[in-house]
Symmetry: D2
Subunit: 305 residues, 4 copies
Amino acid sequence: MTGPDKWFFDKINDNLMQLHAISNVLYTGKTRFQSIEILQSPTFGKVLVLDGKIQSAEIDEFVYHEALVHPPMIAHPEPERVFIAGGGEGATLREVLRHPSVKKAIMVDIDADVIEVCREYLPDYHAGAFDDKRSRIYNTDARKWLAESKERFDVVIIDLTEPVEEGPAYLLYTKEFYTIVRSKLTANGLISVQSGSTSYVELTNIKAVARTLRSVFPIVRIYQADIPAFGGPWGFCIASMQTDPVEMSAREIDKRIKARGLNCLKYYDGITHTGMFTFPRHMRKALAGGGRLISDAKPLYLYQE
Amino acid sequence: MTGPDKWFFDKINDNLMQLHAISNVLYTGKTRFQSIEILQSPTFGKVLVLDGKIQSAEIDEFVYHEALVHPPMIAHPEPERVFIAGGGEGATLREVLRHPSVKKAIMVDIDADVIEVCREYLPDYHAGAFDDKRSRIYNTDARKWLAESKERFDVVIIDLTEPVEEGPAYLLYTKEFYTIVRSKLTANGLISVQSGSTSYVELTNIKAVARTLRSVFPIVRIYQADIPAFGGPWGFCIASMQTDPVEMSAREIDKRIKARGLNCLKYYDGITHTGMFTFPRHMRKALAGGGRLISDAKPLYLYQE
Amino acid sequence: MTGPDKWFFDKINDNLMQLHAISNVLYTGKTRFQSIEILQSPTFGKVLVLDGKIQSAEIDEFVYHEALVHPPMIAHPEPERVFIAGGGEGATLREVLRHPSVKKAIMVDIDADVIEVCREYLPDYHAGAFDDKRSRIYNTDARKWLAESKERFDVVIIDLTEPVEEGPAYLLYTKEFYTIVRSKLTANGLISVQSGSTSYVELTNIKAVARTLRSVFPIVRIYQADIPAFGGPWGFCIASMQTDPVEMSAREIDKRIKARGLNCLKYYDGITHTGMFTFPRHMRKALAGGGRLISDAKPLYLYQE
Amino acid sequence: MTGPDKWFFDKINDNLMQLHAISNVLYTGKTRFQSIEILQSPTFGKVLVLDGKIQSAEIDEFVYHEALVHPPMIAHPEPERVFIAGGGEGATLREVLRHPSVKKAIMVDIDADVIEVCREYLPDYHAGAFDDKRSRIYNTDARKWLAESKERFDVVIIDLTEPVEEGPAYLLYTKEFYTIVRSKLTANGLISVQSGSTSYVELTNIKAVARTLRSVFPIVRIYQADIPAFGGPWGFCIASMQTDPVEMSAREIDKRIKARGLNCLKYYDGITHTGMFTFPRHMRKALAGGGRLISDAKPLYLYQE
């Protein structure tokens, strides 16, 4: 027989699936919170799958993690304290720690097993970040931890699985949660949130996240990056009380990157930043309004209106 | 049973497939040159499929056709004569004819049956363009027609299926063909070419097309648009002897759009133009060099090195 | 591209799917009770699909319908009155009417739209049976009709879709329904029931149907036929108060077939009959006991324990 | 997400695929001759796949191996010397060795790596058979070995992968090979051959194998067993110069089984035997004639006419 015979079905929505050939299953198991798989793909390398959804792939995880981390980190003049909700692979932490001003990076991921499996099977993802002396890892509910914390943060990064019913993350996408975040940010602090597909045919999630952030923060921007392993363009929201990342010029961004010694970045730079926030006309219109408010009482589940 | 039960398999590459739920098959047949299907998709509306590859879908064909047509048409100060190779749906012609300066639009598509089927099943695609008195439709080999023509064109648009072995289009992607095109362009004429995926994991086609154009034209630019029906970002090349579309400001583009009365456009405007040519860092690097020269003696077949 | 691009997904169970290439969709719609599709398959010809499950296919419908109908019809010495529950395609009726002793064949299928669509798109299935003057067609609930009927029948044939939650058929698989059937059978009457897969890995349905029939009838036998369109061997139950079809010799069956002028049969004869009731050792063991009692209070849904 | 996300695609023919959910990949590799995988299926247990085709599955391998081995072994009054071509899993050997009269069992499988992997990953398949002192295992071409051998055998069992172009097995399905087998059989010896699908829609292989055997042996019978992991009923041919297994009564078979102490068999007994050779009417007709002669000069490739 010709061609691959083992396929991973990534259900993008009810009417669309992306099928990835897989050459091997490196790990498969269930934690207290979710199912976890590490698959080997001929195209994407090692792929982390939680509850049946691809979280990141070796070949393009740098796009996802740089896109999530650097816009708020660069927009802040000197981020010292960073809070990460989720981020089990350790790659978000890895990107945060590249910024030399960072003194403390707290990562709260409820699922210790995911971290353990990623540590063992995806060592290039964390690249030692878990062992950096500036890192603190807690395995508890990120919302609870943040609510009870007395600290304030310059940057908060929400790197969670998508909100699945009964899943571990759905209460970290609500207005109530973002209100807690706001109260824990420093005056010029920023939050970035992975927010789901920005495919023109699948905007429910991103619009709801943006709408909900807008109910809490005066400045909210949507941006995107193309991440092939996710089957299309992927959206992020960035929000703050004071700082608008769209007002930063490519030149200014490149200056900060250089000043912080971040020439190692593969995805992000000034031109990239400009492109990420530049949507074509129909997308600007589609993203302009609407979206529903996500609240504890009426949470959002993946791609359901 | 829950969920759709009929699926169209779109083989993106050997290791990746996109599956579209289909609710109906509106037409299926074989022409002298290729197989043709019109499928009904709950997400994408009517979808045209030639030789098993999606050509365009009702919901986002405007993205594809505006992206293919307007960059060269706007970059030219006053396009009067336009040549389209392929373009069976009639939507490329439709976009060309929006420009009031156009006096003659010649479309050469080898497959009269495709045109016939599209005329009947996809009337919104051509929207009357076939019957516009400025249109001339020829069903013959576009290369042969162009080589033998005595006319010169301001804009040439290559709207072909991808180069499949034995397929109708593979000799319209070669250096020899682009050389013919150059000889038929006016001094400040431009050519745009649909050039395949710009997914980071599937750049073989676009790089080869760009490389080949560079062997004929001094100015060649790659740009892209996200087209969900194609399963990711889609690439185009634009080339010319004199005009670099990257040098046009968003403001200038919007000025020309307004002057030509093109406010009806849904996808393209000045901001869109800027975004289309702005690739992130890793893509700029990946697209910068390489790609192989496509020639009649060594043609390119879809996604084969 | 090589190979078919449109596939029908037949979910056999949670862990097994059969995919049929389809070349066309001849009909698709929704009735008051179920979804209905007529698909064109290169291998199986026209295929009728209700609620996502294949009901019958042109190439092998004769196997299914002969297997369902002739064992009870032949086991009865002179069937005059026959009741069919379901049977929308008309092919069960067609087989029943082949027996010259039949004076009246009543078919009660709740879904008039299914009958209408089959009449139009699958004329070879009914082959005029709907217009036979011995036929009576009612579109109402078969259980209600039978319960209220004053007639008695020599043969009752249950030709229903599988019991899907909220589907039209699940109350026609219960002990209460079979008790009604018993009260409407003549003394030497028989009932046959299509009963689902007899694949060794998927015996839940057939065992439950057999178990439930055994709670109502003293003689119950399971038999099977291989029906490729269904993705494997398919099971039927036959039950009665007096007649055991296993005790009939191949010779006796062939004699009756000849006497009734049924040489037209393609599937069923004496040897076929013997083979249908002959299960290999592991299957005899697996089918011997167990299965749960289906009742109105605790109905069975497809392949759920 | 609900439902399995990893699937094995078993291409049954161009228009039919069976998809098995897989929970893990236990082994994947390439030998000198073929690709080899051991998959974990929730329904079928461990599954051996060679060159993309399922060879056997934990849950129903006993059906396949008993069906292949015991008909010729029981039809022979006292088999002492047995030759197996292929049989890498060791389960055919296991079944052969159950017969107490066996003094020597020679297994020739070209692919030592398959044997090694099966030994390690599928220990219940061989169940110690490789270490039985009556066993001889050779890793060379079975045809060459047999042609050069001076020994004669009571039973020859052909347990090969299907004939794939360039695959290791296609020259072991030809008239020339069966002629060699005949010359190495004792006077009342028998040969059994796994012969592919007996699905009504896919009879090319079985008919060609039967036709070819008939050109060499006077007695040839087709029989079948339902093997869910293979996606339907599976065919075998048995041939000999003198012995017709169809003439054996169920009673006689059960007597021999008892005399040989084979009560451990799960699939095979007298009733099973009778059922295996009993095809329904349409299948008897379809299998009766036709099929093409397979020769070295014109070999058969899987399901190609």
